[in-house]
Assembly symmetry: C2
Homo-oligomer: 605 residues x 2
């Protein structure tokens, strides 16, 4: 028990676990100016191996925080997938190639890979610039959530009491600390301590598939070693994923007897890197693979596919990442889903803590992210079964044919890329007026598209106009502002939007431009449009008024109204702080938008 | 006179002057591992104003050194030009808009702008990473070039003796230093001390045009304030160039009487920033311009257009930048030409110092760069006359019409962008076999084009394959390597190229891959090509073998053989270390390439 001398303190958000989910959360909250601490039991970040697939959507998310450039510098890009199947001569042969990801609207339509430590470092660097560092090694030893209903509903209360133990402290009372937190986010992995303290259960079961994984610099005559490969052979399945530099990751299917001990648990002493290489060579025959370098990293695992039955306790203790869902790593989904969990959560926490939104906004976190995790599990089961199943051969007509595998690979491509994620209707997803911007799907992330700035014709990417800065983006598609009739409508709209009874000022908490970013996009011709034509409200800075036109060399831009399905007479598109389309409205129904924001935001005092 | 105690030292290259020309030189030589020192008389780099236009070619050059990203972060982009002329009501009106630069093949087809200090800092940061810093404030006080012909021909000799004075030294013998240099590069500006020591004269004369320049953050209703504007008014001419952030630069034409003293020299006391703003408002009427911020920088100048009669003394003392040519700043040319001078010179100096090339290679510096400077002067005269001349109006039919001005603006666009620079035939520019790659113009910079890597289908830009790393790039367009007959030719070529009698080993100085970078580009289809098909010589690393094909989403790449005019049966294209096409050869005439390199390179011992 802590003594009276035990250090006690308060914090708005305490994050337990500094893996990708915890770090995304810590980075986003630190950047939002939230009082946040993040602890981890490991003495240092991981240095090699572990999860590494980076899907197109998470690259977009990284870009929204301003550090996709780090990925482009450090990560490898994976563009092509190749498929190998048993050939006539006892070895494998290539049956086809295809794009590695199926995501036609992705801003970057390829997969990337970087070891987990590299990804963590990007977050650590960003957090450090906001003065937040991971405190480690620290473990939580006790947790208590208490308070009556009004207390739990009051975002200013500190109902979570956590006892922490500093593992490298000098001992005595100094090694123990009590923290009173407004919110606790458990990002403490598949064996989550936080989850177990609250009796949250994982649903689903382990499968029988056992895999060896190793990262190496290969010497090989295999012609697709720099592509993602799915290999079905007479001698088992394997998967190849290129890694940064000259590294390659191999996933090798193993037999139970080679890996499990008498109690059915993985016994690493039974199977080493060398044995895995032997199996790999059997699978890849007639090609050969070896290495003249030390093995970078290796492990064994059994695929577990589970999702927790809930994601939060009274919206005060929340869990994220592997703590609430685990997946087969072969589809490269686990880490991406984990980071997207806390990307979804962070702005909501910030809004509640600032007093801008009701605490019930946090219910949308579980609603949106648990559904996705369940879909992911369903996909994973199908994909893992297909991938681990026996290939169809002349002798075995019941096996998996190449066509079945390829179809699954491509059908689920949009889903695995993260691009197709679609959040269901809620207080923050309302699709009443979808038809006014028919291709900016409400509940999906906003499309990437190039526009040009009216004042200087510089091309700008719609995604870069919607950074993760916790502001709602009010994209006002104005129609053609060189049409005097339309311009009159636009001027009237500007006057109306600035009135105190409408959302911009009503929910602006005295500083509307900190809550809302207003951007106007006209369909006018760049050669005759003047940025000075539109009302100052739609060009609070000269860079905020855009045109749907090509750049001066017709290399990019144009066609945005069509690509977004926007009505020629305009529409207002509300992009959530996490980049998802929240709702759409016609220019003439500001009242609808007032109601949209009133459903979860608090009005200015 | 220095005493016996005066510090004396040797250096391979001493650069005098740390403006853009000197810094480009110092950066490139430091990166090439050359023993280099750079001195400047100013105590610190400039902090605001001065030259700032960055043309498309110099952006490509910056990219070749790996720091174009700094420009994209810090500089403003200028995409559109607008033209204003006298309107019917006594004020100006817009007569048209056009792309700001005419350079269809530019990798980035727009102008950029950044204050000179920002550009200098990019070089300073790069040099610092190679352990070289500008020594300042130091001035040269004496220079002597001595030695007989054999001494001057021997690149190991130190025939240049320079006496330096350290302005902030404690005094006495410590403030003086004698440096013996193999080469001296004078980048000491329009009033070059180096140039005058050797009696090199400037040709050309000053014109009568006098301009006021100021950088400010404007408050204005002028609709093209973020575009480059050429304004002819009833009340004089002015030019507007957007700057980084919200800054704008104004060039305002002034009358002699307002600026000159009784001796015809510029008298800054006669015309201040406020008076220039008054003139600007007259020119821009009916639009208004003012500022609520301090003026960032301002100056007055008379346009001088001159070029020196020679660029070197025995190829041991060389001058570059404003020291050998000065231009009207309105076309944004001076700084760009200066940096391109030393970009042209640096690799040649490195080759001579390494013993890889004969000292006569340095003659091509004057040959190539003086011709360009002369052409630039000719252009500048025409442009300045057009720009400073009276506009054509109803009352003055002899003035410059908008059509005349626009035509000049566009005709010279390719030239002012730096993209159209074409070096004449010399030992390093040989166009005998131009027809084998008819659109990679020998003597011009290599075209930008996207290819994909055969091993992983990742798109790569040809320019990024040709960095400024002092190596000659041997681009082997192999034809279709999935055609067995063609593959046989390619295998034969690989065998032949590695023989000691051919250039790759003959001029490789024991480490051919440090002198030559071999890249192979096949016209094979990505879906069936194996990178392992081609001989190892053409894939020394898996990333070095490329395909002329689209990426997996058909977003980029493909059509490269056509775009480069390459014969379907292949060609070898030699790209000089500075990115210019040196020569082209058919696959069957290696002997021609041996002769090309033999004409300026020394063979391995």
């Amino acid at each position: 028990m802590p003594t009276a001398l035990t250090k006690e303190s308060e914090v708005d958000v305490l994050i337990i676990g500094a893996g990708p989910a915890g770090l995304m959360c810590g980075m986003a909250l630190a950047r939002a100016g939230v009082d946040v601490r993040i602890i981890d039991q490991r003495p240092a970040r991981v240095s090699a191996g572990h999860a590494d697939g980076i899907q197109p959507r998470i690259v977009e998310v990284f870009q929204s925080y301003g550090f996709a450039d780090r990925l482009f510098q450090e990560a490898v890009q994976v563009h092509m997938a190749a498929f190998y199947n048993p050939g006539p001569n006892g070895g494998i042969e290539r049956t086809g190639r295809a794009p590695d990801v199926t995501a036609p609207t992705a801003r970057w339509a390829f997969e990337m890979a970087l070891h987990q430590g590299g990804i963590e470092q990007i977050f650590l660097d960003s957090m450090a610039s906001n003065g937040v560092e991971v405190e480690r090694p620290i473990i939580p030893t006790a947790i208590e959530l208490s308070g009556d209903e009004p207390t739990l509903q009051d975002p200013r209360s500190h109902p979570v009491k956590i006892t922490l133990k500093h593992l490298e402290a000098p001992g005595g009372s100094l090694d123990t600390e009590i923290v009173h937190a407004k919110f606790l986010v458990g990002c403490d992995g598949a064996h989550s301590w936080v989850r177990r303290q609250f009796g949250i259960t994982m649903e689903g079961e382990q499968t029988d598939y056992i895999w060896g994984v190793l990262d190496l610099i290969p010497d090989t005559d295999f012609p697709d070693i720099r592509n993602r490969c799915a290999v079905h052979s007479h001698n088992g399945s394997c998967m190849i994923i290129p890694r940064e530099g000259d590294l390659v990751r191999l996933y090798i299917q193993l037999a139970d007897k080679d890996v499990l001990d008498s109690k059915g648990r993985v016994d690493k002493s039974k199977m080493g890197a060398e044995k895995i290489m032997e199996v790999a060579n059997k699978s890849l025959y007639p090609y050969k693979i070896s290495t003249s370098h030390p093995i970078d990293w290796w492990t064994l695992y059994i695929i577990g596919q589970r999702v927790s039955n809930k994601y939060s306790v009274h919206e005060r203790v929340l869990i994220a990442g592997d703590a609430c869902h685990t997946h087969s790593p072969k589809a490269g989904q686990g880490m991406n889903a984990s980071m997207n969990d806390t990307h979804n959560l962070a702005w909501k926490l910030a809004y509640v803590l600032r007093g801008w939104a009701d605490i019930s906004l946090l219910k949308t976190y579980e609603l949106e992210r648990r559904k996705y995790a369940q879909d992911l599990i369903d996909f994973d089961k199908k994909f893992a079964a297909l991938f681990s199943g026996k290939p169809r051969t002349k002798d075995d007509g019941d096996g998996v044919s190449h066509e079945e595998f390829l179809e699954a690979f491509q059908t689920f491509g949009l889903f695995t890329s993260g691009i197709g994620v679609h959040y269901q209707p809620s207080v923050i997803v309302d699709d009443k007026y979808q038809s006014y911007a028919s291709k900016l799907i409400i509940g999906q992330r906003v499309l990437p598209h190039m526009f040009i700035r009216a004042a200087d014709s510089q091309p700008v990417q719609m995604h870069d106009l919607c950074p993760s800065d916790t502001r709602f983006k009010i994209l006002v598609f104005t129609g053609n502002t060189t049409d005097m009739l339309q311009l009159k409508t636009v001027k009237g709209l500007a006057d109306e939007m600035q009135k105190p009874e409408h959302f911009y000022r009503k929910f602006g908490h005295g500083n509307s431009s900190a809550v809302f970013e207003v951007l106007a996009i006209s369909s006018a011709d760049k050669m005759i449009s003047n940025y000075t034509d539109v009302p100052p409200f739609f060009r609070s800075h000269w860079s905020k008024f855009l045109l749907d036109d090509t750049d001066m060399y017709n290399r990019t831009g144009g066609g945005g109204y069509d690509a977004c399905g926007v009505d020629p007479h305009g529409a207002i598109v509300i992009v959530r702080p996490d980049g998802y389309v929240g709702t759409v409205a016609p220019l003439w129904d500001l009242g609808y938008l007032d109601n949209y924001f009133a459903s979860f935001m608090t009005s200015s005092p």
